[in-house]
Symmetry: C2
Amino acid sequence: MVRMNPDLRRESIVAATLAVMQRQGIAATTVRDVAAELGTSSGLIHHYVTSMDELITEAFERAAGEDLERAAAAVGSGSEPIERLRRFFESYTRADDDSGMQLWLDTWAEAARRPALQQASRRLNEAWQRLLCTLIEDGCAGGVMGSDDPEGTAWRLLSLLDGLTLQCVAHGDTVTPEQVMLWSHRAAEMELGLPQGTLT
Amino acid sequence: MVRMNPDLRRESIVAATLAVMQRQGIAATTVRDVAAELGTSSGLIHHYVTSMDELITEAFERAAGEDLERAAAAVGSGSEPIERLRRFFESYTRADDDSGMQLWLDTWAEAARRPALQQASRRLNEAWQRLLCTLIEDGCAGGVMGSDDPEGTAWRLLSLLDGLTLQCVAHGDTVTPEQVMLWSHRAAEMELGLPQGTLT
DNA sequence: GGAGTTATTGGACAGGTGCGCAATAGTGAT
DNA sequence: ATCACTATTGCGCACCTGTCCAATAACTCC
């Protein structure tokens, strides 16, 4: 039996959990499924993790945290405000990642019944809002865009993106990712006093 | 044993199911819970209903259909376009009904795993879109408001409302129903070329 | 080699799920 | 009173869930 670093073992369990969650949804993710994904037994999972709830929350935090970090890097303060805004939208909508979108929706619903998950979800939500808010404030300071209430504008735009993503993930044939980008661009142009077509 | 009209009995089962769904969420609604709500046995449920899936879908359709009918009546073509729009927003956000909002979110997530529910959800979704679209077109025809793409505008506004409702139901202390109304009004004013403050 | 420690297994446990079914209670017509 | 019929019960079935635990395997250190 290979003696692994316990932290690494835990890490691989969390990764397997995430994979199962993306494939089957949070509610349908069971200890035995995770064990099968790793090719081990269910008892082992509980040797490294105290409860299923903890495992699910940790897997979500890992995935969502990485998404956020990637976005923060892509939106980095180096380039032009308009371009940064465009990149933010692309990162947030996860348009290239079906299973990610599904998991995102799942989290909203499950959060109501899993306090730990709700807390994690809220933290992530606020971090995204802060990222966009800073971005808008930078643009305003540079005179590229305008908003009399950057925080409110950020919430409105994020809510629009949430709603569009909702349509996309649940009724994908009615609203496509391309429309999500187009419509969010138009809304942002209106909100920020940009000439129509600036973002697209 | 009182011999009831079978349709009435079925009706009461659906009503009980809806009550349990609103209280516990769709995923946690079981045959035994519904039976307990009615004060009968679980076997009786299956005497009138073939499967749990069917029961859940029917309960959702009933509740959502009634919501839509109420909204259509409230938005009736009698009054002024601006007032009709305001009433539409109020109806759609279900701001006065916490359990209704929770069920709405639940439906989105569950739809991914219950085909029948997904179909029902989609039908309802399109009906709401049509209602708002007609409303916008009426306003445009009357010269009260303007939009170069009524259908797109309707989708955008509904998506914004969805996103705001999402925030409201999951993180209620961050986004209040009042803000949902205010922000959706502002967005609608921008979209429809109305002077700021017209709706509020 | 053996001792001590950890990793891992596989199954037991109590509880829950949807569904089906034989048995019973009640009803209305004859 | 008898009959056919329906309503209703309550339990059984097979399956699934998270969690726990004794037994075993593998490793490290002496």
